[in-house]
């Protein structure tokens, strides 16, 4: 949403979801799910790569789906193979942190904690949460980008350097 990307600060406020003139949907859309890193990613978008953010997000969901499926398989095929699970989850966590998916990232971390403790049930539960967050984030971002698209080029024009 171009017009919402008025400034990093505003955007952050939006993502932190209050206090700025953000579209209510947008606020809800991303509030709490994304952090500062997402702002950075958005910052990288410019005229040379006008859809950068969306590209990155799309790439994220594609890659994370694959990683999640790997973890799922590993949970099934390699019971109690905590180091394997942990390795996979670390990959997913890395992806999350790259786009600023904070809630999902913290679920990833708690999964890894469970691995560290050797707690398979904890891992399973945590993994379910990771998947939920993943789904929720996807929805939010889809909504977000819709808003952004609706905002159209007007938003870009107001974007400060």
């Amino acid at each position: 949403m171009r017009n919402l990307r008025l400034s990093s600060h505003s955007r952050r406020a939006a993502l932190g979801d209050r206090g700025r003139r953000a579209h209510p949907d947008e606020v809800v859309a991303v509030g709490g799910y994304l952090d500062e890193q997402f702002c950075q990613v958005e910052d990288l978008q410019d005229d040379a790569s006008p859809n950068f953010t969306e590209e990155v997000v799309t790439l994220f969901f594609k890659d994370s789906a694959r990683l999640i499926s790997n973890i799922e398989q590993a949970l099934e095929k390699y019971p109690k193979d905590f180091s394997r699970w942990d390795a996979y989850m670390q990959q997913l966590k890395g992806s999350c942190s790259s786009i600023g998916a904070s809630r999902m990232k913290s679920e990833c971390m708690s999964f890894r904690d469970c691995c560290g403790q050797g707690n398979p049930e904890g891992c399973m539960r945590s993994f379910q949460k990771v998947k939920r967050e993943h789904g929720a984030l996807r929805q939010k971002l889809e909504a977000y980008f819709q808003l952004v698209r609706q905002a159209g080029p007007a938003g870009a024009a107001t974007r400060p350097v």
Binding site: L44, D47, A48, E55, V56, A87, Q90, K93, G94, V161
Partner: protein, 666 residues
């Protein structure tokens, strides 16, 4: 806007000469980014571009290495993720530091202290946590500048020289490059040095020092350890003996202009570490290869060297992986190709490894031994029973080997005696001496040899034997298939007996007992065949269980007389016994005869047997296996006798078998 402008700059920078690019530095700094996470890579790439760097990305460490190797001057800085599927980031870090001397920045989601420490000890300039912020990336050009600056500066400062001297003088001392677990003093020293110079880990410090010895120039050339240079280096080291190799002498032997003692010292240090690492790796490879039957050269090739993945950095080994890939790899490759019949890769590599590893300190031996055992076990699993595992012998041998190796490398007669075939196969661009010796051995040894030391030893000895064995080529197949190799002409057990061959029993005990026995017996006659039958030595320590490599033709170089011995021994069925249990007396005697027989005559009985014991690396299990084969052996023996004498061309076949069994044994 900004990005567009940056891009234009980058393009401009790309087309101009490096000097001009440098003038615009840090704009246009060429960064290579490596990360298997596509999201992160994309973001990183864009961030770097935003900083006006020239960015190349790849999601595979192997590709990155390839790019870097193709043109070392293509990049100024490397940023790499730590956790990658195809190669450990730390390993990449080491390699880059060793081979290209470029600053490397590590990236990771994991910010644990031990992880960061590992990065530092492996020589990373910096360690960044994901998600990376652009502010952090804006400063990474410092590492490039710092490195260059240090190179110039350090040479001028006495204090740096002081640091340099002790470190150079003792190449074994830990350096900042030494991997985690390196000796404390080295770590401390390098830390001190770092403090003095900068806060960053500079994996190129050694080189910096060395380069500092040269007159300062606007741009100091890095000492690039090309393959040729490295080969010279290795040849010099081998000549001196790994334990006695000191930088000064190496430098003298190498006789390369503009190379300083410090260059050599740091290279030596890395080399030693590399060797250590290699021996462990080789052991593992050996077992893997054995398991696979060593059929596929590329496998070994990749696995052992190129892949590097399997490499587990030793604690003490800083990182000599670069040597491996370049020097060894090329060597082994060459050797490999040089020996078509054999499972080239395996053998060669082993040989190569041998050469290298044997020079390693005791550790290597241990590894080798371990590896051998592993190998043997693997082979055993496959059924080969050739080598009567004389562990003690092996060990003894291994120790001997280390000592002997220099001899080997210095080109023992073996090399000469090897049959043309062998030699042909061996011909490789690899460091001639050691390789030749090794490869030859390799040839006969073939697969099982994976263990470096073993193989070289084996080769040596076998060469004596194999040389006679025309069929050394038999070795090709993996441990298992030896049968095939044998049954053919190669196994001319009969012949060998009659003929002078007798040298080696190439009793290639193929994996399958019966089959192998047959083969073995055939080979046996060949004796000279590659397979060196390691007969359990009654002589005791030497256990010389002849490994039946392949029934090469014993004819080769075997004296008639000797062969008779062998023959007798063999035909008398001692074989059976022996095979079962390392033919004790007769074989020993025979073997010893045989062994020396080989034209090479390099080996003199006992010693040879001893050396043959390498084959013995076979684990006791083999021994057992062997026993079970005894009965088969009879049949084998008979068939051997009936078999037509073969021309032992040492060629391949025999060796192939040989190796096979040896491999199995091993």
């Amino acid at each position: 806007m900004l990005l567009g402008a940056a891009r234009m700059e980058e393009k401009r920078a790309a087309v101009v000469a490096r000097e001009r690019e440098r003038d615009q530095f840090p704009v246009g700094m060429r960064v290579l980014a490596v990360d298997d996470d596509p999201v992160c890579l994309k973001v990183l790439e864009t961030l770097l571009r935003r900083c006006q760097y020239h960015v190349t990305t790849t999601n595979q460490a192997i590709t990155a290495l390839k790019l870097l190797r193709e043109n070392r001057d293509m990049f100024d800085l490397v940023i790499s993720d730590v956790h990658m599927p195809d190669m450990d980031g730390f390993k990449l870090l080491e390699l880059v530091g060793l081979e290209m001397d470029l600053p490397v920045i590590m990236l990771s989601v994991n910010g644990e202290t031990k992880s960061v420490m590992k990065g530092i000890t492996h020589g990373a300039c910096d360690y960044l946590l994901k998600p990376v912020r652009i502010e952090e990336l804006r400063n990474i050009w410092q590492h490039v500048v710092r490195r260059k600056f240090s190179k110039h500066e350090r040479s001028d400062l006495d204090v740096y020289k002081d640091f340099n001297k002790p470190l150079s003088a003792d190449p074994c001392h830990g350096h900042n490059q030494v991997a985690g677990g390196a000796s404390e003093p080295g770590g401390r020293i390098s830390r001190k040095r770092k403090e003095m110079h900068s806060d960053e880990e500079d994996e190129g410090e050694e080189n910096d020092f060395q380069e500092g010895d040269e007159p300062s120039a606007a741009k100091k050339p890095r000492v690039v350890w090309s393959i040729e240079l490295h080969q010279k280096f290795v040849a010099a080291v081998n000549q001196l003996g790994i334990d006695k190799a000191v930088p000064k002498r190496i430098l003298e032997l190498m006789n390369v202009e503009k190379l300083t003692r410090e260059n050599v010292a740091s290279h030596l240090q890395k080399y030693r570490l590399y060797l250590k690492r290699l021996s462990v790796e080789a052991s593992r490879q050996a077992s893997i290869v054995a398991a696979f039957g060593g059929r596929d050269p590329s496998f070994l090739h990749m696995g052992a060297f190129e892949g590097l993945q399997s490499y587990q950095p030793f604690a003490p080994c800083a990182a000599l992986p670069s040597f491996n890939p370049h020097g060894l790899l090329s060597r082994s490759t060459a050797a490999t190709f040089g020996v078509p019949e054999l499972s080239p890769a395996m053998t060669i590599q082993t040989a190569t490894n041998n050469g290298v590893i044997s020079h390693c300190a005791g550790d290597a031996n241990k590894f080798q031994l371990a590896g051998l055992q592993e190998n043997q076990q693997a082979n055993l699993g496959q059924g080969s029973a050739a080598s009567l595992g004389l562990t003690q012998l092996q060990q003894k041998w291994i120790h001997q080997e280390t000592n002997d190796l220099t001899d080997v490398f210095s080109g023992s007669a073996l090399a000469n005696t090897l049959s043309g075939a062998l030699q042909r196969s061996i011909s490789s661009p690899l460091p001639p001496q050691e390789l030749l010796d090794n490869t030859q051995a390799e040839v006969s040894l073939q697969q099982s040899i994976t263990l470096p030391s073993v193989s070289s030893e084996l080769i040596e000895r076998t060469l004596g034997v194999s040389a006679n064995l025309q069929d050394s080529s038999i070795s090709q197949q993996g441990a298992l298939p030896i049968n095939d190799g044998f049954t053919n002409d190669k196994l001319q057990l009969h012949d060998p007996f009659d003929s002078t061959s007798g040298t080696k029993f190439s009793v290639s005990m193929p994996v399958c007992p019966s089959a192998s026995l047959t083969a073995s017996s055939n080979t046996k006659s060949c004796v000279s065949s590659c397979s060196t039958v390691l007969l359990a030595p009654d002589t005791g320590s030497r256990s010389n269980c002849l490994q039946f490599g392949v029934a090469g033709d014993s004819r080769h170089g075997m004296d008639g007389m000797k062969q008779d011995h062998l023959h007798q021994g063999l035909s008398s069925g001692s074989f059976n016994h022996n095979f079962g249990a390392c033919m004790p007396e007769q074989t020993n005697a025979n073997v010893s005869y045989i062994v020396p027989q080989m034209k090479t005559n390099t080996m003199e009985s006992e010693d040879k047997l001893k050396q043959k014991n390498i084959y013995d690396l076979g684990i006791p299990k083999l021994h057992g296996g062997f026993n079970s084969n005894t009965c088969n052996f009879d049949g084998l023996l008979n068939s051997m006798i009936k078999a037509e004498k073969d021309d032992f061309s040492f060629s391949e076949n025999d060796l192939g078998c040989d190796f096979f069994s040896l491999g199995a044994c091993i």
